[in-house]
Amino acid sequence: MNLLLDLYLTWFKLGLFTFGGGYAMLPLIQREIIDNKKWATEEEVMNYYAIGQITPGIIAVNTATFIGYYKKGIIGGIIATLGVISPSLIIITLIADLINNFSELIIVQHALSGIKVAVTCLMLVAIKNLYKSNVKDKASLLIAISTFVLSYFTSISTTLLVVSAGVVGIVFTKLNLFRKDKS
């Protein structure tokens, strides 16, 4: 299949089945982009997520632009982005007129309760896999736990947390605190 069409359709599928924002897209990215299409490695996707945190815009769009750009240049980035936003455009436009009642529909609420549990299951597994491949020493574990605690329990901005983690990365590497065989 034509690569541009493949980029568009793959990101369309990711947009269509993501409930709850860019992070919830991670299990689908792992399956489609990393395992099936082999368009990026897990490590690269983690880098895109990190950069997506400190750059403007929506994480899902930023990740789509990154992967599209590396596969097929600027036009690839644009096509992947159009793919990931198309389902939203179509679905929201279709339901916009009944939107005031939509989220109150009982059947929607029941389906959504189930979907949320599935997203929880998928995210738990995704985070476990990321943990296994990215946290291999005590220094990394310390960074992961501190970032979680500061992000969840304080109002420190994400930008500041990401920038600090980058600085800590430089310092810890200088102090030889990361395991050598890592990356």
Binding site: G15, F17, T18, F19, A24, M25, L26, L28, M46, N47, A50, I51, Q53, I54, T55, P56, G57, I58, A60, V61, N62, T65, F66, Y69, Y70, G77, T81, V84, I85, S88, I91, I92, T93, A96, I99, F102, S103, H110, L112, G114, K116, V117, A118, C121, M123, V125, N134, S140, L141, I143, A144, T147, F148, S151, Y152, T159, V162, A165, G169, F178
Partner: protein, 180 residues
Amino acid sequence: MNTFILLIFEFIKTGLFAVGGGLATIPFLNEMSIKYGWFTSDMLTTMIAVSESTPGAIGINMATYVGYHMFGIKGAIGTTLGLVFPSIVVITIIANMMEKFQDSKLVKDIFNGLKPAVIGLILAACMGIFISSLFNKDYSLKVSSVILLILLLFIQNKYKKIHPIFLISLAAIIGVVFKL
């Protein structure tokens, strides 16, 4: 200024300054509602609920909805493209720079710190959905949801190749059938 152009301009601005994902667009929408009166804060609340219950990135869903509300399909396309335009430009520049600096020792050292930090950030961002999927509003445990979670984890563990889309669809059907 023409309202249509002003609307798109506001969404380009939002795309440029909302750092850290879809929910970061909410303060900007709030400001639009106060400054221009394009929609009420009630509508904004509904929009957030609908965006969270439909597929797709939340920021995109909200942009599409506001655009459609103001100018129909033309508005929906305009606001959505406006919102993603800054991302495409900024990420293309960064992706281009990363190609040049990917072998730099400093960049590798920085990512040594970023990779574990992102896992912490993802976990923190998911806590909301974890809690709302397993607990009621009064913080009592939703027993049926916990049973479903255990079932799904079991299926996922037994059939590692199972596609996430299948798991999501299965859970939606179970939700409707058993009135979760």
